[in-house]
Amino acid sequence: MFGLPQEGVDRSFSRRWNSLRARESRLAWILTSPTALIVFGLVIFPAFFSGWMSFHDVSLRNLGNVFSAPFVGLENYRDVINNWAFRFHSWRSWGAAVTSVVYSVLSTGLTVLVGLVAALLLNRKFKGRGIARAVFLFPYIAPIVSVAFVWRWLLSPRTSGVLNDLLLRLGAIQDPLSYISTRGLALIIVIAFTAWRYFPFAMLMLLARLQAIDGTLYESAAVDGANGWQKFRYITIPELRYVLGAVFMLRLIWTFNKFDDIFLLTGGGYGTNVLPILTYQFTFESFDFGKGAATAMILLGILLVFLMFYLLVFVRRGES
């Protein structure tokens, strides 16, 4: 190799270029590049671009020529944080940041809980279990628009709304309630809807884990005289703990990012304005793209806090 420099370099280069390994990795890059290009081009790059926009004054006027938008420093952030819709005011009006956190934590908790109950039900052997399992998945796979509007109609403020009708018949209420346009109630409805729609995801993950639990654990517990509750408390829950944590975290992140559900149910009104909806309002209702981007970046920031918390608490504890 060192003896004949020129020729040696050439030959080793061409050998490396043609070696099996090099051909393999070249092929790999060719095969993965379309996917990588689309995903990084339409996600990673825009994510950074969004950060850039949040420091600039971008409106409909200069949208066609974004890069000439004037730099405004932290102006957008200051405006957003001082904005009425964003800020916490009182116990009656929380502002988007607090509403977002409360909504996503509570609805995720409920989602996981309902999913756990559903998984426990389906973990039993019974006739028609396969069908029941498929049916339980319906809310999750149906188009969001369809189910959101069905819910809105079921919750109609008039006496012809199904929930009002049922509660009136039962005598639980005297007058029909307007669930979706009452502060407080609206948030509860939105949380209930989220749990209804997304519990199947938690159910599937938990069911998969439940069915992997070693049956001999329960047998030996039964020999030791454990009752059903004790078996559940000391075998099932510890076995599920890791999946519960992972599902909770995943759903928390997705719920926190979620726009459609609340937008279609309440339009973000009556104390249900969350950060994604506020982002949409800044961007496509007042056409202030800079402020919209700043709101989205704040959302991302809170998301990262959740993620750090998860990594610190669950992953580290899991290791030890």
Binding site: E24, S25, A28, W29, L31, T32, P34, T35, A36, I38, V39, G41, L42, V43, I44, A47, F49, S50, M53, L63, V117, L120, L121, A132, A134, V135, L137, P139, Y140, I141, A142, P143, I144, V145, F149, V150, W151, R152, W153, T159, S160, P200, F201, M205, Y218, A221, A222, G228, I253, F256, N257, F259, L264, T279, T283, F289, G292, A296, L299, L307
Partner: protein, 304 residues
């Protein structure tokens, strides 16, 4: 309840008693009924309401069973001679035009990418896979703004409109679905023994020949489930369609339903008819491919 796994095992007399009269059985039956009602009732309401007349819709009390199967609502959606014709067929066609290409392109691209990640050695493989999965944590609203700005700019330079452009939608749906498609297929390919392919390679097939003759036939179920899953996402998607579509002729189904819902004269039975028509294809596809799809769902697929 979950602990009730001792079927066929030896139980003492109290165990037998406990198995027959117990609270668990009662709880189980109640729980199952509760869940089935809770899940199915909204769907029953959607389908039954689509057959109601305007009088039944407007009555003081909810009508739980429509008097007869009236097709008024469906006529409004599809019959051009109806005074309030919604041209819904056009919107279904639009949705199909977006969802089908998304599904086909996603399958082809993720097939190639996943094969490379599962079978070939190359630098940056892990980084690529992790980077692609990281996409899943980004909020859609964060990407919506720069995408809108970027595509407006690119569109302006190349002379195509961003608004009402179904191609733009296909592109954004691909970006949303490719990560999981890639992830699902990579896992699937890893579960196929590499020896089968090596035999093909030794027999003189090229890599692409191996993919075409061996890998694809072996992974039809996985490919079908990826296609189905991407189709469903594109068919159901709301936010990007809302942002990128402007004129009712270009609307996809979800946006059109939103428009009918927000019509000044409320017509819930039409909304329910449109929802029924939109939901049924998804349900049928799901039930047909349920077993394969569930693997996808647990892989974290339907981000939602």
């Amino acid at each position: 309840m979950a602990s009730d796994k001792g079927d066929g095992q030896k139980l003492n007399i109290f165990g037998h008693l406990a198995r027959w009269f117990t609270l668990p059985r009662f709880f189980f039956a109640t729980g199952l009924t509760f869940f089935l009602t809770g899940v199915l009732f909204p769907f029953y309401w959607m389908i039954s309401s689509s057959f109601k007349s305007y009088a039944e819709i407007g009555s003081r009390r909810p009508v739980y069973f429509p008097g007869e199967l009236r097709l008024d609502a469906y006529r409004e959606l599809f019959d051009p001679s109806n005074p309030t014709f919604w041209n819904f067929g056009q919107n279904m066609l639009n949705s199909f035009k977006v969802a089908a290409p998304t599904a086909i392109i996603a399958v082809i691209l993720s097939l190639l990418g996943a094969y490379a990640i599962a079978r070939l050695r190359f630098r940056g493989k892990e980084a690529l896979l992790n980077g692609v999965l990281l996409v899943y944590l980004f909020p859609a609203v964060l990407l919506m703004i720069p995408l809108f700005a970027m595509l407006t700019k690119i569109g302006g330079a190349l002379g195509f409109g961003v608004q009402d452009n179904l191609l733009v939608l296909i592109l954004t749906y691909l970006a949303q679905t490719l990560p999981v498609a890639l992830f699902m297929l990579t896992n699937y390919f890893k579960s196929i023994p590499a020896e089968i392919e090596q035999a093909g390679l030794i027999d003189g097939c090229s890599r692409l020949g191996v993919i075409w003759r061996i890998t694809i036939p072996l992974s039809i179920p996985a490919l079908a489930s990826v296609a189905m899953y991407t189709f469903m996402i594109a068919w159901n998607e709301f936010l990007y369609a809302l942002v990128f579509l402007n004129s009712p002729e270009a609307f996809t189904v979800p946006i059109k339903i939103n428009m009918i819902f927000n019509d000044p004269t409320p017509r819930p039975h039409v909304v329910m008819a449109a929802s029924t028509i939109t939901t049924i294809p998804v349900m049928v596809l799901f039930l047909a491919l349920q077993r394969f799809l569930e693997e996808g769902l647990t892989a974290g697929s339907v981000k939602g």
